[in-house]
Amino acid sequence: MNTTSVLRAIAALTFGTATFACGGSSGPSAAFLAGEEARRAILTDIADSVVNPSQAEFVLKTESLVTAVETLAAAPEDAGAATAVRAAWAGAMDSWQEQEVLQFGPAGSAVGTAGGKGLRDRIYSWPLTNTCRLDQETASGGYADATALAVAAANVRGLDALEYLLFNTSLENACPINAEINSSGSWAALSGPEIRTKRAAHALALAKDVRDSARALQAAWTGANDFRAEFVEAGRHVVYHSAQDALNAVSNALFYLDMEVKDVKLGTPLGYSNCTTDLCPEAFEGHLSFRAKPNIEANVRAFRRVLSGADTTAAARATPRHFYALLTAAGAGGLADRMLDATDRLETALGAITTDLASAVFNDLPAVEAIYGQLKALTDLLKTEFISALDLELPQRADGDND
């Protein structure tokens, strides 16, 4: 017991008497959970019904991806193998995009996330992909060095790097003219089939690395380190001070929809930030695979699952779970419903677009802007009423004092 705990206990003993006298018993009936236990129940449900199944699914998808890339590596000129490997990559990406919204614990940054091990960046580091470095590695064959790959920077590994290797049909490289692979002529010396062969081999090394990271993430939650125990028993171990603290970590992860999806995945291509022209469609996530929209849909799907424990609003209302249950139990059921309604409207706005987003910004800009508008409406609720109702802190707020 640390000093603060001792002080808390003394203060509680000294000043709690009157409250006890007036407050009466607070013990819930055996059929119900209250306070910290209720929060731990929610955390348990999130861990077991969202996090663990997502991780298990992603491991399977990465294993399928490795199998598909092995086939391609064996026959780099086989168009069917190339198609199959792209489908496998899309499946893995779909699965991972759900986990983008689950960046708490080991998936989170090693700096600034409780229990974080930085595994997300090993699996997917968009938008930090360094395509020139990837081409250099392809040309040099450096990818074959498993030891070097294990400690490679995040921007030359992961699903984003794989996208470049698997979907880029150009035989040019992404480096400036004065880069070594161009000035030395090493890239120019490669024939088309050689480039495709090397890219497939490079992709295989990266796919295996992604699979290993997926397994590492799953093991971090269920293996010897057992982050799940830390999470579902928050307040009894070291990572989280309380169940509320762990709940805040999950809430922080939900803000992915605001800071990443709204501001980066949509805000930049729509020319709202980091764009010097009116529109920057090249900034859409997955612009080679044209998967910007499915990625956002997967993000929203995971958001909904964490929020309500269900895939549809009807199911969520039928059996309240997760944050939806917490809000409803706390008397903020109206807010919970408005958040679900806002999620519905967001999904409808996404569904209204039938092409990829990079095309849609030219063909139907208002429809893409409508997605942004619906995202804003949902994240406005998140940033105001949601954190108020559950007394949660905004993510990345620097430590410091109040008042």
Binding site: A34, S49, H241, R305
Partner: protein, 483 residues
Amino acid sequence: MWWARLKTAGARPVDVASLVALRVAFGVLALFGAVRFLANGWVDRFFGIPTFFFRYEGFEWVPVPSEGGITTLFVVMAMSAVGIIVGWRYRLSMAAYLVAFIWVELIDVTNYLNHYYLVTLLGALLLCLPLGATPSSTKRWRLTPEITEVPAWMVWLVRFQVGVVYIFAGLAKAGPDWLIHAQPLNLWLSSRTDFPLIGPLFEHHATALIFSWAGFLHDLLIPLLLLWSRTRALAFAALVGFHAMTHLLFNIGMFPFIMTAAATSFFEPAWPRRLLRRLSRGAWQMRPTAIKVWQSPRAAWTRTAIAIAAIIFCTYQVLMPLRTHLHDGDVLWHEQGMRWSWRVMVREKNGTVTYRVKTAESHREKYVSPLQYLTPHQAREFSGQPDMIVALGRHIAGQWRARGFDDVEVRVDALASLNGRPAIPLLDPDADIAAPGTRGLDPAWIEAGPTTAPPIRLPIQLPARVPRSHTRSTGDDYVDVTP
């Protein structure tokens, strides 16, 4: 007649010991505060990382030092604090501390805290009092107070300062949100159910209501109860308990410690000597070797100037928190007159701000996130404060104009939720807040505040068994989720 009696009572010499004790406590807290700021890496977070600072109106000229410069200012604060503790070169030390402290505080409004303001006022007051120490004539290592007795009015001024803080903090709570709906305490307490022993009670509205009334009565009555000798000890014990609870429950930094230290000024002025004598069982007599009474200046004009300065100081203290009444509406909503008014921990306000920028060159409005300019800490602090929202909007307009855009119009979608209410617009979304000819915040842009009562946060009770995931299985079988 009463004036003559007041003058006589005010001129009565009293032991300087309580003020010296306060000086030492102030120095210790100042030292701790500066070291804590450096140790936590907050120089980088609050001054190194931000690229935009909200400046106080009229103080835009205050230079923003580099990160190294800020670190140096904190080192100056720490070194000065040592001088304040020991009393050597006291006024120089206090002046250096205040210059460094105020300089840092004036850099960014988002760093404003009520207790920083209190440190400034209390420091300025202590600076004016003769609380220095000089080396003993016989033992050079030993510092003794330059003055052993001061006129009572000096102690009164300190008590007045402390009393003002409590009374205005109490008055700030005298509203329906606090006293009837127990908000925001209901929201805050309900998330702290892990608190030892009584944590489970925190979810109940009744607990928040009791705490709300206790806090209100504490703040309002504590100065009076401290003034009366019969209730003083009990009142101080309650005060210590109150601040211990606020320290343990809320992240309010040094405030509880500063207030507790400052409240000791209400004790009889010789209390430190008596306490030390009692603690040492008489071994330390703690009597001053020689009585050195503070002499008021001989020149009448100097005495008059001191009296006028004291009156101005006290008048300022009273009027400053009241200035908000020049504005209609709820200060917790429009925030005009919120700073420097001791409205401590009385609102839970969460806002979201998005700017909409339109230029002559573009056919559409562009959304601009404040996070392009602010750190998350700054964004959190500014999002409920209209003057800062407008300040950043004007900065954004300036940036766009500098990039060559003409006819830049900036509008803002600013929503805020006050004490758990539904979020509503804080500023007029149609107002061009950066239009040529406008200067800062126009109060007309502030939308009417909420008219509904804040919600009551109910105790959370969940069924011990919840259905297995809808997302991964079609079955509706139930699973025990008790960890």
